[in-house]
Subunit: 113 residues, 2 copies
Amino acid sequence: MYRISEFAAMTGLTKETLRYYAEIKLLEPAYIHPTNHYRYYDDGSFFLADLLVKLRCLGFSIQEMVTVMEDESFENLEALLVEKKNNLQEQMDRLQMKINEIDDFLASGKEEG
Amino acid sequence: MYRISEFAAMTGLTKETLRYYAEIKLLEPAYIHPTNHYRYYDDGSFFLADLLVKLRCLGFSIQEMVTVMEDESFENLEALLVEKKNNLQEQMDRLQMKINEIDDFLASGKEEG
DNA sequence: ATAAACCGTGTGGTGCACTGCACAGTCAAA
DNA sequence: TTTGACTGTGCAGTGCACCACACGGTTTAT
């Protein structure tokens, strides 16, 4: 069982983020001391926190991560990953369109100037 | 000279956005009535507003647009567009990396499952 | 026993780019 | 002249994902 600071160091999340994740029930401590309310995390918590860090890095929003965590068997995870991938692909397409627009903009500027 | 609602309809910006842009001196009305403080816009305003809409669509932040507008001759515009294009390219690269990570994630999941 | 380090709660702040609302003055048409 | 549409100001709120801080209790090491 790890206390919040130790667990923060293990996961790369800050203490504040861990408290926040507990508050919104995204990642609840494995155990909370009944009198002093200290949060304790275990190796199961670590597995989940590690997954959250990965998902966050992939661009998952808090709400999407909540959806992932709500399904303890993670059966939805693959579908959500595929969905996120499509999402990212659309973002890329939009960025490419903007780059093309800038190129047009620059080209038209050169003709006039 | 156009009043704010008419100008909003012309540009596609909302009245509130126009007031906000005036407040932060991104796009100031061509004329402000001295007693009732009504904002009036003209065709020069329209040219600028149209540019702002395009830049916003390209992903320019307010601060970047302010930088563009500060230079009335728009001599910096081309350099800023090139910079923004590189910026967008980097964003695309990061997105591609995330897509690759998801593919790895999905592939590793298939092996184990 | 005491000091340092740690933990809790609660609340407010951050940055971005607006949006919404209340209240009040103003203008245009009938 | 009255009604309704329009405009102004000022300020609070939005969503996201936290961060910072004050204040006070707890634990750990010396």
